[in-house]
Symmetry: C2
Subunit: 204 residues, 2 copies
């Protein structure tokens, strides 16, 4: 969509790998399949990326470029909990949609595939911990209900916001929709979360 014009061989390969990683996982994706999907000879992959892990690394660098991640939590206006959560959800989902759910799926592989673990590092866990810590702070500030453990609140938030992309790309239950539709849906999901996780006195 964005670069309909000339897509380099490298880009085609990485994009194909992303699609396949998302639906088959890292171990379940063969270099042959990547080559076929990218419309490239298998040897070209190794000439350009050295190894299968090399593709992963290149992909990781693209992740890093877009990676907003939990930085939203450190936004200046983080006093406004609802706005902060919405911003976080938006950046999470848009980047997840952009890489076709590959990052989400790879998080599952990280535990058992060393290369993936190295790529992601403790990123996902750090994200989670950071969000949990933020949740704890907002609990003390009276914004969030305090009868639920902060890390459970954080897990629930990620689950809620990533489910939309996950069910579509990773599990293939439906087609991934337009950006506009998705934006509305994300708002609604955050709204659900905020209505349920926000403290009872606070209100909308």
């Amino acid at each position: 969509m964005s670069a309909a014009a000339a897509e380099t061989t490298d880009e085609r390969i990485v994009r194909a790998a992303g699609v396949l990683f998302a639906e088959r996982g890292y171990a379940g994706t063969t270099t042959r399949a990547i080559a076929e999907t990218a419309g490239v000879n298998e040897v070209t992959i190794f000439r350009r990326f050295e190894s299968k892990a090399g593709i992963l690394r290149a992909m990781g660098e693209r992740f890093a470029e877009q990676a907003a991640g939990f930085s939203a939590v450190q936004q200046p206006d983080s006093e406004d909990t609802h706005a902060t959560l919405l911003a976080l959800a938006r950046s999470e989902i848009s980047s997840a949609a952009e890489n076709g759910g590959a990052a989400i799926r790879l998080a599952f592989d990280a535990r058992t595939v060393p290369e993936v673990a190295e790529l992601l590092g403790d990123g996902p866990k750090r994200n989670m911990d950071a969000l949990a810590e933020y949740m704890a702070v907002r609990q003390e500030a009276g914004d969030l209900r305090s009868d639920i453990a902060p890390h459970v609140l954080a897990e629930a938030f990620f689950a809620l916001t990533s489910s939309y992309v996950m069910y579509r790309t990773v599990m293939g239950y439906a087609e991934i929709p337009q950006d506009s539709d998705m934006d509305t849906t994300v708002e609604q999901l955050v709204d659900v979360y905020w209505s349920g996780a926000g403290s009872k006195k606070t209100d909308r």
Copy 2:
């Protein structure tokens, strides 16, 4: 824990396979690893289960025994939306916890591993569709907010309730807790969902 006494060879194998499937997926789990984990010679596996898919089948039969699934939706008192959702969440999570998250993880493999797809069939999707339909009915009854598409509501529900088990077993972020702790947590998560997804006029 439950059967500390005599566990048959078959049971040990299936249990070991469940643990490994949950954390590595079906394709990522070798029969050698299953044998080692079960403390059994690899040949024994093939003598008793014929093939790797045979273990899967045996595991599927155990799933079926516990399988409550979306049957909760068809409960007689399904007019009480909150109670119905809570019952659904409880049965989902307890069975997920029982099989160590294997079922959740296998749902990811279903798309690309034929044996897994055959085992699960359209079960997960039917569950999802059935729940979405229930959501639609309760929307019309005025119990649930109607600005969100029913299937998004359904996805969000499953995501919220299964995330707790998923983050622990599949992604290994933490140890899986006691039943009592989990029960409380499930209640809280359903409460979050209900507060956020219930229609504004209805109230708790």
